[in-house]
Symmetry: C2
Subunit: 370 residues, 2 copies
């Protein structure tokens, strides 16, 4: 049995936890750069909570609130410039995966602003400004990972920069911040979290520890789906589930489903959670067909955590969820062939116990999307 | 729902992991102080593995191998003096709970050697020499906690010094180190781990995260008991279980059972795991009788993780295990009255959802020990 487990972020959950536990970032610096998107952190109250806590801590602040979905390297450089101009010494990232990843990437790059773009997508950032992460979606898990996924226009894809210094020092989960989310964002982000947990179980780096986290996460998401409301308990459980799934992937990595989903997001701007989710069912069918040896039975373990008995049932649930958010996107076969040719080269494909060939990937694309 | 979770230690498990993952401590310092007991780290090969890894890393070393069971403050000061004399800049603690706690305490105290004994038992150590923990029993969980439990002759009891800096940087779990343990040590330490996980579930600080860790730990220990051998799989699962239980108590603390067990260890030198375990069954009966409100059903959750249906069955299993290690110790009632008077004042008693009065504690002592 091999285990390699690391997740040094302090995780605090509870109503009003940012203000109540503000001593956790009181020592991180004199001036914070708040990194957010345009609207959500204002709408859901997170930005105001952070500002109130910083005032109470006697800490100054500056604001960068222009992070767009799937932030690019150019956006990160803009934040780094702002950090320099404002002389900030730590970063508080607030929002969904995009602001969180942008804040984490900028905190690392602010420490080494001369880093050439070609060297940016490494996994070796061992220094960064201290980071505080305040998620406002229950999906990304970025609040407990060492990664930031950015849009890299050079390779026409999404890519990861990472390092131990990119783990946030603390993560604050206040489920009130989820209450202003649209139904489609709630669904897409929950499916993203589910995909993290499931892909973690299909990683060659899965261990007893990561499986425990993944199974708890999957089981919580399934319970929330069955409960079918979005009250406080559901929001808190989805937040717990997405953070647990983040703890999974920071130890296991993701696998081919994420690599394939990136193609849909980069090329067709499909929301990340939906993009992966649209492919997840057929990917699991492929994984079940090819599982063998010590990995046999993995899909059944996943189904047991979901408390369902077949992949047909799983696909049908995902189908219901996604159709509620709008009609399926249409793709030409030629387009999918180009995606398959690129996705087969992804690092996370090789990280899986099921390693689809280019033809397998094309089959999954075609079955899922046409 | 409230969660406050923190466990920043990197955990590596696997055969030969100390040598194979030696890069994890290559950057921690130029000279390590190895802290161990007299024999076990030599017998089980751990000390030799560490020395080989340090040579390969180009790091020097010194050795303090005189840690006794239940180390005293005086022992810690001796290690601190040795660290100073040898100019060591990090600590590698190898062994059961006693050497691990001694190494962690010395690493903190080496940073502030002028600390008066009266101030030693605080929870605020925010600086310490870097610590590497290599457990050779599957019980203590000290490899992933911020605490060191020491014998404090001033208060005639065991007491805890703690702080965030006392988390080891990394923990190495090589199940080969368990293979030289006696049956009684294996049982006592496994019961210690079980007690950590169970007490964590009965803590007022229990959360969804700590419950997940605790239930996995309890379930692994129960499986190992049922398997009934001490082969490699059992050793690895017991190691996983004890580390998970350590992750529980560093977030929840222990409760009254540990407070009561300390009395038997301090006054009658009964092994820590056995001391707590002898009281655990009757303590759980008390907890079951008094559980109410949102805590109702806790004992049944524990029994479900154990995959048994009653506390009678649990008590009978513990009884079988302890009788295998020798006849029960005998106590006079007057002795137990004095213990109850002291145990009722312990901090961890107040940390539980079941808070036994002095009379309740005496009843548990009497039912368990006479």
């Amino acid at each position: 049995m091999r285990i390699d487990y690391f997740m040094p972020t302090r995780v605090v959950m509870g109503e009003n936890c940012v203000f109540d536990s503000r001593e956790l970032f009181a020592g991180l610096g004199k001036k914070a750069m708040l990194v957010t998107g345009r609207n959500s952190a204002k709408l859901n109250g997170a930005q105001a909570d952070v500002e109130k806590a910083l005032v109470a801590n006697g800490q100054a602040r500056a604001l960068y609130d222009k992070v767009m979905s799937n932030p690019s390297v150019e956006c990160i450089r803009e934040i780094v410039d702002a950090i320099g101009a404002e002389q900030c010494d730590f970063v508080i990232a607030i929002g969904g995966g995009s602001p969180l990843d942008a804040g984490k990437a900028a905190a690392a790059l602010a420490y080494a602003p001369e880093t050439k773009s070609a060297l940016l997508f490494s996994t070796s950032f061992t220094s960064a400004l201290p980071i505080v992460a305040i998620p406002s979606t229950a999906g990304t898990g970025s609040e407990v990972t060492r990664n930031a996924v950015l849009t890299n226009h050079h390779i026409k894809n999404k890519a990861s920069m990472a390092g131990p210094a990119m783990f946030p020092r603390c993560a604050f989960l206040d489920a009130r911040y989820l209450s202003t989310l649209s139904m489609s964002t709630t669904i897409n982000t929950a499916v993203d979290a589910l995909s993290h947990a499931i892909e973690g179980m299909l990683s060659i780096r899965a261990s007893l520890f990561s499986d425990m986290l993944a199974k708890e996460s999957i089981s919580l998401i399934a319970k929330c789906y069955r409960r079918g409301d979005f009250g406080r308990q559901t929001r808190e459980e989805l937040f717990s589930a997405s953070t647990l799934a983040g703890m999974v992937i920071t130890n296991t990595g993701t696998v081919a489903a994420h690599a394939m989903g990136y193609m849909l997001t980069y090329n067709r701007n499909i929301d990340h959670g939906r993009a992966t989710g649209l492919l997840l069912g057929e990917f699991l069918r492929f994984a079940q067909k090819t599982e063998q040896g010590k990995h046999a039975g993995r899909i059944n373990e996943i189904l047991a955590s979901l408390d369902i008995s077949s992949l047909d049932e799983f696909c049908s649930i995902l189908d219901t969820l996604f159709r509620a958010s709008g009609p399926y996107e249409r793709f030409e076969r030629s387009e999918l062939e180009a995606y398959a040719a690129q996705a087969v080269r992804a690092k996370n494909r090789a990280n899986g116990i099921a390693k689809p060939s280019e033809q397998d990937i094309l089959d999954i694309f075609v079955k899922s999307l046409t």
